[in-house]
Amino acid sequence: MSNLYISNPKEAESIHILREVAAQFEKPVLLFSGGKDSITLVRLAQKAFYPARIPFPLLHIDTGHNFPETIEFRDQLVEELGLELIVRKVQDSIDQGKVTEERGRYASRNTLQTTTLLDAIEEFKFDACIGGARRDEEKARAKERVFSVRDDFGQWDEKNQRPELFDMLNGKIHQGQNVRVFPISNWTELDVWEYIKNETIKIPSIYFAHKRSVFFRDGLIWTANEHVYRESNEEIVEKMVRFRTVGDMTCTAAVLSSAETLDEVVDEIRLSTISERGARIDDKRSEAAMEKRKKVGYF
């Protein structure tokens, strides 16, 4: 019996995109958040260039409000795969007076990341930044191209995007411009989880149900911790929770869950009636929150 390889079409497409990045750009970088989407990207990149190493570094924009589990995980992954990791800190941008910390109930460093990211792009002269955004996440993202050209200010011109025909990718840019690349554009949240399960990819522990000190606000569940603003009447309780996305602590809410294994997590996602971004405070700020952030250079 001959063993015939039939590809998973979404995986094949993502690998095609990653190889185009390596071929068309001089200084690509993979934006690594420590979340499941960027972990999936790393696996795809590993497959794309095997047996060679991934030919670009990872860049982590560190808000300083990360879950410690993600940082631990990040360092382990980098070590295991022999990757190059660059870390740039939002705290440094604050100390340099480039951005000011938000205050109050919904204070978050999420939007501040943009400045740190743009500075890092300039510092290293990155011409392609690979990100793990998916079109199913949010309605402004659904309009995003796979190769999305940004101007010198990192801005997204949503009404003037290059059409993408077949699987031909046009990454030609002028000096100072850069391209945001989204290899898993066409994946859904469930696709990502099923992939992680099938490939037995390791992910940070906070994706699985665990006991955590939390408090409730606006129907969402918050980590009780010095980085997260809490009113004195917002009572801390112990709950079994897990996270569906891991961003900054200040903008990522948990969900009640008892899913302790990948199988249970995948089942939970399959049956879930709330979207992944439903637990993101940054999107709740207004209906067009994501579009506005993208225009000024957000991931």
Partner: protein, 417 residues
């Protein structure tokens, strides 16, 4: 994920025919709209004083779109049933329709062409069907929408079907590639559930029909084309002499031991291994992104193409193609571009423009230039030969884009004759 069918669909139809509403409805009926998204739709619909849910809000993601109630840019929407993964491109109907539909359709196997039951077959319908034909989509679904506004009248539907069938005769489609379904996207009639208000319609609902489409018929099959995308040289101790040629395989299968030729040099060798990540295979089906090693030391770089020695494509320094202009910059005789054929780039010069093609199947006329949304036949001279097939025999190896050398924008797409 591996075993599920993946069907990619492009929607088409004139402004306000209900494309976004239909997609929103499909999401709703397949329970793909999560409660938070649904609540947002309910809230906004109520704010606007509607007594129904405006499902177009599920896909019209840009601020300007929601304010104006129209779609401005292509959105990609995903939903699943237990058997199938669907990707739908929601395209805008108002301006630049040709460009948007060509873009959406280029990655799709199926088109849903919407027709407003009150308006019937109009010029836009011709155009959308013409594009489906030009891109050789596997299947076209003609959804006669807003049946609620014509009292679910059978005669209206039959008349539209009849008008459309005269177009089908002029096309390359067989009649079994075209399906007509009367629907109301707004009310959900014949979308996921069979309409009791149209008992005269005996066919499948839209969703049932999409589920039974056989993807095997929709995928291309033919000769194998392997453009080398990236050369992998690990230069590590363990893989010291490894030289792998990675890329995506199009058109047909390849297997270990196949006699292959490398274009443009026409050097011959044999396939030694076919790898995907750390696994080796005897054979590979098209669509896969793989790495191939060869028996002999051959000099291969990005843009070269590996083919079976018995199936050499054309290699020429001139090419004739049907061009669709997707940018406001017009295409004129003497213009120079970067031509990207798959992953390979050469310089191209417009030698002559044969014709502007009428998108209502009524023929062609001569022209000096192709403007945005125009479709025409153009002859190019190239700086180096490209290794191509006709679009008809191999979609990926028979298409290209033109890139403006000043702005670097993608200005045209070409389908090789």
């Amino acid at each position: 994920m591996e075993n599920k069918k993946l069907i990619k669909i492009a929607t088409a139809g004139s402004v306000d025919d209900g494309k976004s509403t239909l997609i929103g409805r499909l999401l709703y009926d397949t329970k793909s709209l999560t409660t938070d998204k649904l609540e947002a739709i309910e809230k906004t619909s109520r704010q606007r004083g509607f007594d129904y849910l405006d499902f177009s809000l599920a896909t019209d993601g840009l601020l300007a779109e929601r304010e104006q109630g129209i779609t401005i840019d292509v959105a990609h929407i995903y939903f699943n049933t237990s058997k199938t993964n669907f990707v739908i491109a929601d395209t805008p109907g108002h301006v630049e329709y040709t460009r948007n539909m060509v873009t959406g359709a280029s990655t799709s196997q199926v088109a849903i062409i919407l027709i407003d039951a009150r308006k019937g077959v109009i010029e836009q319908t011709y155009r959308h069907f013409f594009i489906s034909n030009l891109l050789r989509l596997g299947h076209v679904i003609v959804a006669v929408n807003k049946m609620d506004l014509v009292n679910y009248d059978e005669d209206t539907f039959i008349k539209i079907r009849h008008d459309f069938e005269t177009l089908v005769e002029k096309s390359d489609f067989n009649s079994d590639q075209i399906t007509f379904i009367p629907i109301s996207a707004l009310k959900g009639e014949n979308i996921a559930k069979k309409s009791e208000l149209m008992p005269w319609y005996l066919g499948n609902t839209l969703l049932d029909h999409l589920e039974v489409l056989e993807t095997a018929d929709l995928h291309e099959s033919g000769v194998a084309r392997f453009p080398v995308q990236y050369v992998i040289r690990p230069k590590t101790e363990k893989f010291h002499d490894f030289r792998g040629f990675s890329g995506k395989l199009y058109g047909g299968k390849l297997k270990v031991g196949d006699e292959v030729s490398i274009l443009p040099s026409l050097t011959r060798s044999k396939i030694k291994t076919i790898q995907f990540f750390d696994q080796e295979y005897d054979e590979v089906a098209p669509g896969a992104s793989i790495t191939i090693t060869l028996e002999d030391e051959v000099n291969i770089s990005r843009g070269d193409m590996l083919v079976k020695s018995s199936e050499i494509p054309l290699s020429e320094k001139s090419v004739t193609a049907t061009i669709c202009q997707v940018n406001t910059r017009p295409l004129k005789v003497g213009d120079k571009f970067t031509l990207q054929h798959g992953i390979n780039r050469v310089l191209a010069k417009v030698e002559s423009i044969d014709s502007l093609i009428h998108t209502d199947f009524s023929g062609e006329e001569s022209t000096q230039q192709l403007k945005l949304n125009d479709i025409g036949k153009v002859n190019f001279k190239l700086s180096k030969p490209i290794h191509f097939d006709s679009y008809k025999s191999n979609k990926s190896n028979g298409s290209f884009i033109l890139i403006d050398e000043g702005t670097f924008d993608t200005v045209s797409v070409g389908f090789i004759d």
